[in-house]
Amino acid sequence: MNGEDLIERVLREGTRQADEVEVFYYRGESIATEIKKGILGTAEESEAWSMAIRTVNDGRIGFSSTGDPDRWKECLDAALASGRLATPQQWGGFPKPAELAGTASAADRDLVVAVEDAAGMVEDLLAGAAEHPVEVVGGGANLARAYMMVANSTGTLYGMDRTAASVSLETIREQSTGYEFDASPFRAELDPRSVGEQAAFLAARSLGGKEIETGRYDIVLSPIAAASIIGQVLLPALSGRNVKAGRSSLADKVGEQVLDESLSVYDDPFAPGLGSAAFDAEGVPTRRLAFIEQGVLRQFAYDLKTGYRYGEASTGSAVRSGGEPPGIGFHNLFLDGPRMKEPGDERAVWIHDVVGAHTANPFSGDFSVEISNPFWIEGGDLTEPIRTAMFAGNVFEMLREVGGLGKDARRVGRLTIPSIRLNNQQIIGK
């Protein structure tokens, strides 16, 4: 039975027992090649199939999912059973069919999920890495294509294709390590050779770093380091669910200046990207959302469930991961602002990445992390490597005054972000 037929059966059978039914259907194929010790070590091909069902009865939402088409009936029964236990809430129905506000840019028609293509990307990664005297310890290239559909008993039915190409490389020289990666829906946007070169450069160039004393320094966070720290703290604080549940320290600050006036944070679902989508994971049309404009907090992200419960409208921000029910998330998030001054012009500590960003306190914003591949930067050049150190601070406080944004914005996961200069920050030496 193909996806469309099965969806129809589930909707038909489900509406006999529930007020409303929703089906989310996914099928995908992917190739993953992994590098071991500088050569192609393993090749993996995956096919995945899944279906998630939600039912609503008198404001009680039920959920179940399955990876086995033959178990769709069991899955529907489990969704209904789960609905009987859920606390009833205000519910205004699944979305009716609507005009979409834009088109997604998440699929590359030319991307072929073939092991030969992935092996070619691995060759390019390794050729790039060969430009510096390092050993390659790991990494790989992946290609994936998926088709997903969301349909509900009010007649909404959308489907979309997604593709993804990604590469990563891990290198080492003595005790100096380097890691770089990139991912895009579009194969042609990736440059595996330069990713390989950069990973090798980091390990080669970080060797023999000098000690740094504990104290206050001006720093520049690379897009990767900035995304790691900010992703852990600022993004959860923009989720409407965390706001209404008392888990966001931005909850009562709409209209207030919460970040430096040069910083804006917005979700553009129509921009090209891995999360680009014209409808969200529960079939609500997406739109561009400005969360923070020139440092002023404007709004939060909502899905249907949180929206209905608290009298807010869905912002088309529902996303799904694995076999879990939809939750609030972002499609293509941007942290952006005017580029006044190059962040690395005046002498500062440049930080490529951090170790342990996930241990930051997401509510208070406090963090203290180990830094990776730190350098002294001056005149825009990495002049001298620094030996290991820690960086401690508070995300909300440090973003209240930034010393400049770089022209080097890049995608790190679903966030596109430039390098950020922050003056007078705390570094803890060994």
């Binding site: 096919e47 179940s64 069991e74 789960s82 310890v137 008392g246 170790v355 406090d366 992390v369 060994k430």
Partner: protein, 443 residues
């Protein structure tokens, strides 16, 4: 078997996941989902080809042959020359369940979880959240050498989070408990209450000053320390790839005398497995003995390539190829009492609980975060502190252990590596560390 297939195996995991999520007294979701995943591995003339599929009939010879052929096509593009070590076989009995979670209906689970969540809602707490997770895995395995096994793993557990809030300051407390030995939601309200109390008291905690000083690690944090600082770097795949500072260090003293660090998948803790994910018998592995590096933890291919260690440490999330992982990792008891450790520390910091950690095993640098702590002055604990982390270097830190306590405790959790998450436990007695790098933004 085709000439270009040196070996194959297939591992199918079919099962159910039950989740209950309660947020501020509201049952957000409570239900069961189903999965059925298979991974087929083929060793070609050189390296591995893997296939992952939903819903494979392992008993169909025809289906299996077709999958092996497809995986062999993938293996043909690899260049890494893999050999597999000969290994002991055998499957341990799965521990009996004190109370089988499948015998308890979802309504009762939800009610018990709600009790724990409610207990966290003490004065000063703004938000509480609790989550119950139950996983039933029916595992079937067979390989081209004629090995075949099946077993069932039942895991259940919960976490509870409390957030206290006052004048714009927000702090959290969290507790969790996960087991392989049966249903564990009964009589656990005290853990909910503790999460609430920690969150509220952290509102008045100080922010510590960063820098080097003496630190006492409680058993939970010392367990994470063991896992991050030693466990990952002893994984045979990282050693083979040249990505671990512990490579080539067998027989060297890398820790203080008396230090014993073990990974033991046979213990009935949260990281228990009756047999590993490539059909190898599991056994206790002493990574460090009396301060000397003795063994790496291995799978068949890393044992063949690296030696110096024990296979039986291959693990996999369902639907993913097995990789070398820890299971139950711990520091054995020493002989110091907690009071002796406190007295010996005199002035320093006591770190309690874990908010997780991370390691760069190639560089030999790790970082992890405590849930909270206390300053120690004159051998006594004084002010409470928050948002405090610890970092260090693998090759020097273990020499800085000055005292090993006699009160080891294990804590359950999940460990991520290579995009896969598997259940583990880790533990240790209280430890006294000299010259620990403490991260905190106080001045």
């Amino acid at each position: 078997m085709a000439a270009d297939v040196r070996y194959y195996d297939i591992r199918c995991v079919r099962g159910e996941v039950t989740l209950v999520d309660i947020d501020n007294g509201v049952v957000e979701s409570a239900g069961t989902s189903f999965f059925d995943k298979a991974v087929i591995r083929v060793l070609g003339p050189k390296g591995w080809g893997f296939l992952t599929r939903d819903h494979v009939d392992i008993d169909s010879k025809r289906e299996l042959n077709a999958l092996v052929e497809e995986a062999a096509r993938l293996a043909a593009v690899t260049a890494d020359e893999i050999d597999l070590a000969d290994v002991p076989r055998g499957v341990l009995p799965v521990p009996p369940l004190k109370e089988d979670p499948r015998d308890i209906d979802l309504e009762e689970k939800t009610r018990l979880l709600a009790g724990i969540e409610e207990a966290a809602r003490i004065e000063g707490v703004a938000n509480t959240r609790a989550r119950y997770t139950e996983g039933i895995d029916a595992v079937r395995y067979l390989d081209s050498s004629g090995n075949e096994y099946s077993y069932e793993a039942v895991r259940s557990g919960f976490s509870v989070l409390a957030i206290a809030s006052r004048n714009g300051v927000m702090q959290m407390g969290s507790e969790r408990d996960h087991t392989t030995t049966g249903f564990n939601l009964r009589g656990k309200q005290d853990l909910g209450r503790k999460a609430g109390e920690v969150a509220v008291s952290l509102l008045d905690a100080k922010i510590p000053k960063g820098g080097a000083r003496r630190a006492i690690l409680d058993p939970e944090l010392a367990g994470v320390f063991t896992h991050e600082a030693v466990g990952h770097a002893s994984e045979g795949d990282l050693v083979r790839e040249g990505a671990s500072v512990l490579g080539g260090k067998i027989g060297e003293a890398i820790g203080c005398p008396g230090l014993v660090i073990v990974d033991d998948p046979t213990l009935h803790e949260f990281g228990f497995m009756p047999v590993d994910a490539e059909g190898v018998a599991v056994e206790r592995t002493e990574i460090i003995c009396d301060g000397i590096l003795r063994s790496y933890i291995h799978n068949r291919e890393t044992l063949a390539a690296v030696g110096n260690g024990i296979a039986g440490h291959a693990r996999a999330e369902h639907g993913a190829p097995p990789i070398v992982r820890m299971s139950n990792t711990f520091i054995e008891n020493g002989d110091a009492t907690y009071d002796e450790i406190l007295a010996e520390c005199r002035d320093g910091i006591l770190l309690i609980g874990s908010r997780g950690g991370q390691v760069d095993p190639g560089r030999g640098v790790f970082q992890f975060n405590a849930e909270y702590g206390y300053l120690i002055e004159g051998g006594e604990t004084t002010d409470m502190v928050r948002d405090v982390s610890l970092s260090g270097e693998i090759l020097s830190t273990l020499h800085n252990i000055a005292l090993i306590g006699n009160d080891r405790k294990m804590s359950p959790g999940y460990c991520g590596k290579g995009g896969q998450s598997v259940p583990v436990s880790d533990g240790a007695p209280h430890l006294l560390l000299e010259n620990a790098t403490i991260g905190g933004r106080g001045e």
